[in-house]
């Protein structure tokens, strides 16, 4: 509607072209990115002191890779994230379909309850998990990888509502006539779900799953409270290393994690691509 106006030189609504606004956005992006980019750049620095640039090296990556504790923590984190993702997809997708399809008494309460893990402070959630697993005497000396089960449960509890939101957003655009057509053609509930609804939902499920994966991989606070003294995850290990010093090894490991998360986030956004749909709606 205002597209024609926007192309005109310096229209009154053309805030995007105003210099002060461009400067404000540039400064904000600098504020957001400078520390992360510096951190990543200096993971390639050939100096222990880590301040002055001495030359390019990938030494720190090799060292981080051979740091047994760090490696174990990384493997644990990936394993937890995978398990939490699968569970979040199952729990989140089913509930998203249920909420989309059915009216039932107490629905607003149920929806409010499901949003709660997203909004309460992380520390409250962490404390709740700590108390819960202590109270029900969840065994802490299980063999690997079962010792990670408590963390997986805790992660799923705060990840699946996010997956459900993404899947539900996808369902809004679903044409229910497709479902009716499938039924008219003789498909049962299960077949309709498998052959019509699920294929349509696939981008939403993938995006929601990737979201759960990054959330789980990134979580520090809840894991910090849920994990027993013997289990380390990547953020918990980095936390204990950071408390003592700033080392290029931590830079290297952090860079690896940032690259993984950024890749997955961009992938999730491409799959889901909200702005492609925005044009239509």
């Amino acid at each position: 509607m205002a597209a024609g106006r926007r192309r005109a030189p310096a229209g009154p609504l053309d805030y995007g072209r105003r210099l002060w606004l461009q400067i404000a956005v540039g400064a904000t992006l600098l504020f957001l990115y400078a520390p992360i980019v510096t951190l990543m750049a200096f993971s390639f620095n050939d100096s222990r002191r880590n301040i002055v640039w001495r030359g390019f090296t990938t030494d720190w990556y090799v060292r981080a890779w051979h740091n047994d504790r760090l490696f174990e923590a990384f493997t644990n984190s990936l394993l937890i994230a995978c398990a939490a993702t699968v569970l979040s997809i199952v729990v989140g997708t089913t509930v998203a379909i249920a909420l989309w399809r059915f009216r039932f008494p107490g629905k607003p309460v149920f929806e409010g309850l499901m949003a709660l893990p997203i909004v309460i402070p992380e520390i409250c959630m962490g404390v709740a998990m700590l108390v819960f697993f202590a109270r029900i005497d969840w065994p802490t000396d299980l063999p690997w990888p079962l010792n990670l089960s408590a963390i997986v449960i805790a992660h799923t509890a705060f990840c699946f509502p996010f997956t459900a939101i993404v899947v539900r957003a996808r369902l809004i655009g679903f044409d229910r006539r497709l479902e009716e057509a499938a039924r008219d053609l003789g498909a049962g509930e299960w077949q309709t779900c498998r052959d019509v609804i699920l294929p349509y939902l696939r981008p939403g499920i993938i995006a929601g799953g990737l979201l759960a994966f990054t959330l789980s991989l990134d979580d520090f606070v809840i894991t910090f409270f849920t994990a027993g003294p013997e289990t380390v995850t990547f953020p918990v290990q980095v936390y204990s290393m950071v408390r003592f010093s700033v080392t290029p090894e931590v830079n290297a490991a952090s860079t690896a994690l940032i690259v993984i998360t950024v890749f997955l986030t961009v992938l999730a956004m491409t799959v889901q691509s909200p702005w492609r749909q925005q044009g239509g709606g």
Binding site: G16, I36, F102, M114, V119, F220, V246, T261, M269
Partner: protein, 304 residues
Amino acid sequence: MDSWKRNKAVFFILSLPATVWLVAFFVVPLGFVWVLSFGEKVGIIGIEITWTLDNYGRALDPLYLGIVWQSMWIAGLTTAICLVVGFPVAMAISFAPGRWKAILLLLVILPFWTNLLIRTYALIAVLRTRGYVNASLEWLWEGGREVLGLVGLAWVLGERFEPLELLYSHAAVVYGLVYVHLPFMVLPLYAALERLDKSYIEASLDLGAGQWRTFFAVTVPMAMPGIVSGVIITFIPALGSFLTPTLLGGPDSQMIGNIIERQFKAANDWPFGAALSFLLMYVTFGALALRAAYAARGRGLAEA
């Protein structure tokens, strides 16, 4: 939308996993904490539920009340800064041409998905006395000294470079919290501005109001739902933050989160920790109720 009665079996199968998960691994754990907050410590590890209110009373102890107050204003200041910084950014995104909109939005969201701990660690690396900011300042100092030396004024800059203490203070905590929470503020603001009918702004400008007057009299009131959402979803996690004050704060810049953590780890006073964590929950509920009330009022106005 069908009634659940139309196909009970399907309804139960679809809603069962989430219901079980929510109840067993969210409601019940929170219930445990709630009950625990009325308990009393017996001996070293024993806890007896006596339904006492002492734990909540202890939060009013001047020592803890001071920390609660400090957490409130640190979180409040963080939220205010995020709002002031985030609004122009949200406006720029919302008024940007299509392709730029997507890119800018992605750029704002990306740090949000980067690990909280890593981002805090990056701040430490940048701000510490031997960090990049101070290294740059030292470089500037040396250059400045040489230049001033030419005119015999080198003494102005002192004999030795004194690195700035940028970490371990209240200011560092606020800086870190703004750094972490800015995307939380920008996204709801952007969503509200995007929904806003831009012809109102145009009308205001056409009718002779200046940019500032239009901004405060038209744009801000119309973006109010987004502002309220942004303030709430920035303030709540900032209030309950625990990592940022631990890593960036000084010995006196503790927040509620640090006290809670200590009760569950070092101090081993679970009932008191549970009470504090529920106080935080009540603040959250209050804020959410406020937002719901605000949204309801907005709907009422729209219908009238």
